[in-house]
Point group: C2
Chain length 208, copies 2
DNA sequence: GATGAATCACCCTTATGGGGTGACATTTTT
DNA sequence: AAAAATGTCACCCCATAAGGGTGATTCATC
């Protein structure tokens, strides 16, 4: 076996912080190097902790968890960041993942699952709480009852990729006028009259 | 306790199919209603099976798993579809999820985890194999070393939303000429000379 | 004190976008 | 069998948008 997984905890609630430290520290193969009450607090010395995994809360005094992620990634490019929070809003979750978090757990997660997730993220996995995983998967899903036909959807996708009518026409081997015709129908169906509005409406309704 | 979870299996390899049926059928609270060797085979009678969860393979004779998903969703809107396959290519995974799959397991998944995932998907979760979850999370992550400045990224995002220069200018409360200037810099940095190419390059490199 | 970022200005030409209206053949649905 | 939708193309119109070139200013940050 290799050496212990080195863990740093950033969490403002002392009770929770110490609880996690104890829980994880007791587990075989895990070492809690240090724990901090905020990112602003951690920033000075976390570079010396060389953690493998950082357990990060979102609601923190000063720099919040979301803002902290890219800064931590810059300081410790090889550390995995695992979010541990009560926040379950879509925006928070997607912002955290976009910023570089490698996993997202809610605080009702069972202790054994937390410990397991630390190993999992270290091994290249992407641990998520059940409800988070559901939201993540849902974000991929298209609307099954689109008002647009397949061809219209395909053309709107290309429009959303920034292509001009003539580019779309070339790529689909159809006439420029045909593309125009499709776009007009798309506008009619979506009740819009510009590319920007069509893309906006389509994305809001998961048509593309 | 409620009634058993009703499961249908669609899998072309007989050994595997029977293996799953046996494994799941033995578990308390689970009933394997029926199993099929292909979607084309299932399509005639699956409507009568009223499954809660459909275990679906990707590589199938005739209609493949990806194509089958929307058809199954149309026939059985309330059934959850759980993919169980050896395929791990990004495109396959994202296509499956976009088409309406609620979970994605690879075939090396431990039997106990499969049984657990069926319950999880039924309870509104989004079960994924460890490596799948990692790919899904990675798809959200932005490139941390973007050549673009924050403002440039912001403007390129709006361009990718189909907005014209003047719309962007209005929305950001800056002059049309300033937007132009930013776009020119974006084109320079990305080495492109059109909106479409800028968006393409930016998406490929996860800059937006 | 140099570099990058963000702001704005004015030159130029061609391509693009959107509105309107209609036709015709092929699917799909009813 | 009839009706509806889909996919294809045509020609009218005009205002605006896109992209290339070049340069300047202010403000941070390093």
């Amino acid at each position: 076996m290799g050496r212990d997984i080195r863990i740093v905890i950033i969490e403002d609630d002392e009770i929770i912080r110490e609880g996690y430290a104890l829980l994880i520290g007791q587990s075989d193969g895990y070492t809690v190097v240090r724990s901090y009450a905020s990112f602003d607090d951690a920033v000075k010395t976390i570079g010396d902790d060389s953690p493998d995994v950082i357990l990060l809360d979102i609601e923190l005094p000063g720099t919040n968890g979301i803002q902290a992620i890219p800064k931590l990634k810059k300081m410790l490019p090889h550390a995995y960041i695992l979010i541990l929070t009560v926040y379950e809003s879509e925006k928070t979750i997607f912002d955290a993942l976009a910023n570089g978090a490698s996993g997202y757990l809610t605080k009702n997660t069972a202790p054994s699952k937390i410990v397991e997730s630390i190993r999992e993220v270290k091994d290249g996995g992407g641990p998520m709480s059940v409800n988070i995983a559901r939201m993540v998967i849902k974000s991929f899903q298209r609307n099954q009852e689109s008002p647009l036909s397949k061809r219209e959807t395909q053309i709107l996708e290309q429009i959303a990729d920034g292509k001009s009518r003539s580019q779309v026409a070339k790529d689909l081997f159809i006439d420029l006028e045909t593309v125009r015709s499709h776009i007009k129908n798309i506008y009619l169906k979506l009740d819009v009259n510009s590319r920007a509005d069509a893309i906006k409406t389509a994305k809001e309704n998961k048509l593309i």
